[in-house]
Every structure is written in structure tokens, then in C-alpha cells.
Symmetry: C2
């Protein structure tokens, strides 16, 4: 597996993954009908570092973004978002991208990383973040309307990057 910065040539592959994740609608608070243009504008926004993960057999199977979570006095805290193609789940792609992301965040000099919106039913993600040193620092009651489970809680997760 190779993880590298995304280029313009990756936009089709990124949109395919993004569209699949948004349409499923159970891990991100995104409009399931978001347009390709709006999706790519968000994922490749100015100030956002965008990466892709390539699997030898299936090509680009994952993508992530790394960016400041806030401007001004909040810009030392990073935010990140991860998406994995459904046909590449359970192969450690999420963990590999997360470790790559933490390393990049260190390299850019961020002092902490925050996930603003970890849906409580996404237990695989929560376990992975906890395993990588993130803690649940807040819970938003009933903040996400899950397509099958109805209103469920959302967690805010946080990790210092200073040793």
C-alpha cells in the first residue's frame, strides 16, 4: 500500500469513494446527494492537505484530509477526515492512513488533533482512534440522524501531539 498526496489526476477516484461514503450516510454528516463539484471543492479546499492510499490490486481505495480545525488562535489544532472504499474495508487501510496522518500532522507542527464528529455507532472508527491515543472529550446527544438507527450520539475526540 502506498499513501501519497493527491493530485488532480486522482479526482475521479476520490469522488467515487466520497460519493459512496456520502450516499451510505451512516458515518458522515454529508448531504447524500452532494454534487461532484461540491464534494471535490470540500475535499480539496484551500489550506487542506489531501492524500490517497493505493492498493496494488484495486488502485485508489482510500483518501484522507488534514487541515487546521480552526483559524487564528485555534490553528495549532489539526482536523482530519478519512474515507475508505467499501471493497477495501478490513484490510488495515484506515489505520495505515491514520498513522500516516499523525506523522504528517507532527511534520507540519500541529500541537493536537481533533475529530469534531465521530458518530457513536461507528464503533470500528472509535476503537481505532482510541487505540491511537485519542480520547472522547465530549458527546453530543442525538446529534446524528442515522439512516437505520434513528437519532444517535456523536463524539468529539481529541489527542495531543506533544510528547
Amino acid at each position: 500500500m502506498k499513501i501519497r498526496p493527491a493530485t488532480d489526476a486522482d479526482r475521479d477516484a476520490v469522488w467515487k469513494i466520497f460519493h459512496e461514503v456520502a450516499a451510505t450516510g451512516d458515518t458522515y454528516a454529508l448531504d447524500p446527494n452532494i454534487s461532484r463539484e461540491d464534494a471535490l471543492a470540500y475535499w480539496f479546499a484551500p489550506g487542506t492537505h489531501t492524500y490517497v492510499a493505493e492498493q496494488p490490486a484495486i488502485g485508489i481505495a482510500g483518501t484522507y484530509v488534514l487541515r487546521p480545525n480552526q483559524s487564528g488562535g485555534g490553528s495549532h489544532v489539526a482536523n482530519a477526515g478519512f474515507m475508505v472504499s467499501a471493497n477495501a474495508r478490513g484490510q488495515g487501510l484506515g489505520r495505515a492512513m491514520a498513522e500516516h496522518c499523525l506523522s504528517e500532522a507532527h511534520r507540519f507542527g500541529f500541537g493536537a488533533m481533533q475529530f469534531n464528529y465521530v458518530i457513536s455507532t461507528n464503533t470500528a472508527a472509535i476503537r481505532l482512534w482510541q487505540d491511537l491515543g485519542f480520547e472522547i472529550v465530549g458527546t453530543l446527544p442525538d446529534a446524528f440522524r442515522h439512516p437505520e438507527k434513528g437519532y444517535v450520539d456523536v463524539h468529539v475526540m481529541y489527542r495531543s501531539l506533544i510528547a
Copy 2:
């Protein structure tokens, strides 16, 4: 005092307040040097309801925004942001705008309201939100670099709007 939706004619007055708040840099994580164009694009973004508060003696002295905090499955939770001109502080403008905002959020059918980034040193705001039924549901350690106090905590505050 009159609180009403902002119009294009209010842009100069809104920018004056926004610039003052951003430049002070102790209550919002905003670039203190943000341009007028970027500031107004943010405050008048598509999907954002923007309001102004007029004081008889001094004209437009406050402004607030109300919008969905997330898209898709998170769009039933509102987010809001408030700014008051320095020369109008301590006159109840913040509380009046907040009460107006909660009423508007009810009217639009939001089920809850979330503040993502309440800086812990902004004790007047925290007291006001608590008085209006908001609770601190999370704390981000050292997430804000205060211009005088160094790294300080940031709170996530939340309130259900369902009786």
C-alpha cells in the same frame, strides 16, 4: 433595540463589528487579518441566516448567524455565532440576540443548538449560555492560543430545543 434579518445594506456595519472582534482575537478562532471579502463570505454564506441588532443611539451594534451545524444526518442541529460591538457591551445585546436566535431556531424546526468553540476565558458568554439552558458537553484542552493568556481550554456547548 430591534433585531432583524440583515440586508446587503448592512454589510459595511457588519464588517466593522466582525473586523473589531477578529482583530481583538480573544473570543473567536479567526484570522485577525481576515479580509472584508472573506469575512462577509463567511458571515453571509449560503444556507446561513444573518441578523443584525440596531440600538437607537448607535445604529447596528450586534450581529448573529444561525445555520445547520452539519449537513445530511446532522442538519437538525443548529449552530450560531454572535458578535457585539465593543461600544455596546453590557447592555444586554448578547442576551437579546441569543433569545431571538433560539426563537428563530425553533421556528425553523431545529431540534438542538450547538456551539462548537466557546473559549473558556469568555466567562460572560459561558454564563449567558448556561443561563439559557446550554450545557458544557465537552472540553478541548489547550485548543485556543489566547493573545494574553496563552493556551486555554475551549468548550463545546449544547442545548436541546425540544420541550
